[in-house]
Amino acid sequence: MAAALPRLLSAGVWPRPLRLHALLRSATPGTARPSGRTLGSAVAPAVSEPEGSNDLQDRILSEPLKHSDFFNVKELFSVRSLFDARVHLGHKAGCRHRFMEPYIFGSRLGQDIIDLEQTAAHLQLALNFTAHVAYRQGIILFVSRHRQFCHLVENTARDCGEYAHTRYFKGGLLTNAPLLLGAGVRLPDLLVFLHTLNNVFEPHVAVRDAAKMNIPTVGVVDTNCNPCLVTYPVPGNDDSPPAVQLFCRLFQTTVNRAKEKRRQVEALYRLQRQEAAGGQAPALPPSPGT
């Protein structure tokens, strides 16, 4: 998580500082988010809200970072549940990608078996990161180019209030976004790949483009995929329906949980701010782990 910390900290900051189109958006100074003290950005938009709320905002954003598993994503899955969903089944040994060898437990009758203990560890990191991004109101884009699960992925994205892209990926969508999607568009803060390969078994263009645009990625990598450019690879089966359904369910639950947490924390701090405005000294207890 330390590697993506600056990016994480600037997730959810809108409008983006240091960008030229922000200067042209002269009509929206008041809607700038008052987060002037984030580490990743140099220039902060003008803060118009009082000092007290700024402290609370920092509190809201920094509190989850002090815990290793603030959203308790470990309880959502276990090695046994991964095994039951057939996540450990890889492709045949001939399809094996060189860089996936560290994640492979072994080979049985020519079929590669993925090491579920490593998968569990990586999955916990990935879900934790996703939860943090969702907590900080970042945009999450679910990407998959597998025709069998296109409908499922779109439904997952819609149900957790995020975005999906399971169709033909146009060339400059991320790298030339102002032209393709409109000027002043906000790019996704996290890309979640349910399938890293496209229909012709080549790496999806979005993996490389996200790396170019400094967007962190979470990806389910099978034994024939290249895990290099994925920030949080999750070695696992991406071809069986139970496995993909499990992953979709996990991501959906995590995102919903993180958003719910954010709503609770904001409501709590809003109440406390009202109490503070009423004259009492604000007592801000740290929010619990779950």
């Binding site: 809108w14 409008p15 809607t31 109101q137 945009i139 409908h151 975005y163 999906a164 568009v185």
Partner: protein, 396 residues
């Protein structure tokens, strides 16, 4: 558009140039910002604004793109239109409350008579929704998050439609499987609702979605809809599909059917005209007869010695299985033998329409018996030997 640099105020006089409007639109950077120079004159130290506007010779790229209209602009146009409607009603002495578009068109045609041939160039007064093309408003909120979950695909309306249609297909198949599991499945053919309607064309779909589509996108969508219809069973997606069907007007309704007349002996007959190339014919078809054809007073065997021409004459009767049941008398002039035969055939077919059912008229129309052949002789052009034939090409 190559205009040289325009600078004003060369003569040292106390003139201040104010009010030079320079629009600084970010994308349409044709006009660069004006420069203000301080110029002190020896006699009087007056701040003189020297405005220099530079026009670049670049192509106006922004103007080539679609003109974008803001929501406020459209609203203002609608308000102006409504006020203008009331003024118009006042002018024409009509009731402002019940003024319809037809009345408006009539009033405008009266007030602004135009001799222009192109109808679209004449003055119009229509609701702004019909004049300004539909455009997409800004697709995201204040925090930058797009409203639609498929925004990042680029074609959100089209893919959303595909998603919904596929969802519908899955539901229908699930329903069918449930029925089969309970043995309540019954094969019923319900394709009668689709006759007389056609699929949306690509332009209509683009208009519906306010998005550009490619041909492949369109064909994919139509194929998905046909898959949806192909699923047998009770719950078909017909109501969903009806939104994408348009009715086709039945052409044969426009066919003029001659009234049946009766001559002095009480025989029923029908008359009609026909033409082909420069031949004009008029045929009288009697309802009861033995199949004899009289052309210009002669028997058709003598008038048309060539079999091909007689075959042409018999074709309408042969098509309707009425060989030898009607008597025909016709007059023809102009053209050659083939043109005369074609003209008589058309005239006979048209006359036959009055003795035949509407369905058979539609069949005749689809067979091409009721259409005037538009082919005429093409003129010879100068520099060529004939209409198409060029003179012999000589290398040297």
């Amino acid at each position: 558009m190559a205009v040289s640099c325009v600078s004003c105020g060369g003569v040292p006089s106390c003139r201040l140039f104010l009010g030079v409007r320079v629009s600084l639109a970010p994308r349409q950077a044709l006009w660069k910002a004006s420069t203000i120079e301080l110029q002190t004159v020896s006699r009087c130290q007056i701040l003189r604004l020297r405005h220099t506007t530079v026009v670049t010779t670049k192509k106006n790229v922004a103007a080539l793109r679609r003109e974008t209209y803001t929501v406020d602009f459209i609203k203002k146009q609608i308000e102006e239109f409504n006020i203008g409607k009331r003024h118009l009603a006042n002018m024409m002495g009509e009731d402002p409350e019940t003024l319809t578009q037809v009345d408006i068109d009539r009033a405008i045609a009266y007030l602004f008579p135009s001799g222009l041939f192109e109808k679209r160039a004449r003055p119009i007064m229509k609701h702004p929704e019909q004049i300004f093309p539909k455009q997409k408003s800004i697709q995201w909120g204040e925090d930058g998050r797009p409203f639609h979950f498929l925004f990042y695909t680029g074609k959100q309306s089209y893919y959303s439609l595909m998603h919904d249609t596929y969802g519908k297909l899955l539901n229908v198949e699930k329903h069918k499987n449930q029925l089969q599991a309970k043995d309540l499945f019954s094969e019923k053919a319900k394709t009668k609702d689709l006759i007389g309607s056609r699929w949306l064309i690509k332009e209509e779909l683009e208009e519906m979605l306010v998005e550009k589509l490619s041909d492949q996108d369109y064909t994919q969508f139509i194929q998905l809809l046909e898959r949806l219809l192909a699923v047998p069973g009770g719950a078909t997606g017909e109501e969903f599909v009806q939104r994408f069907r348009r009715s086709v007007t039945v052409q044969s309704n426009k066919q003029l059917i001659e009234p049946v007349q009766h001559d002095k002996q009480g025989r029923a007959f029908s008359t009609s005209h026909g033409k082909r190339k420069s031949a004009k014919a008029e045929a009288v078809v009697y309802e009861c007869g033995s199949g004899g054809v009289q052309v210009n007073g002669m028997d058709y065997l003598l008038y048309f010695p060539v079999t091909q021409d007689r075959e042409q004459l018999m074709f309408p009767f042969h098509f309707l299985d009425r060989l030898g049941k009607h008597d025909v008398t016709c007059t023809v002039s102009g053209g050659g033998r083939s043109a005369q035969a074609g003209a008589i055939r058309l005239a006979m077919a048209r006359a036959l329409c009055s003795f035949v059912t509407e369905e058979e008229v539609e069949w005749m129309r689809q067979a091409g018996l009721l259409t005037t052949d538009p082919r005429v002789r093409e003129r010879k052009k100068p520099g060529q030997e004939g209409a198409r034939r060029k003179f012999t090409w000589k290398k040297r």
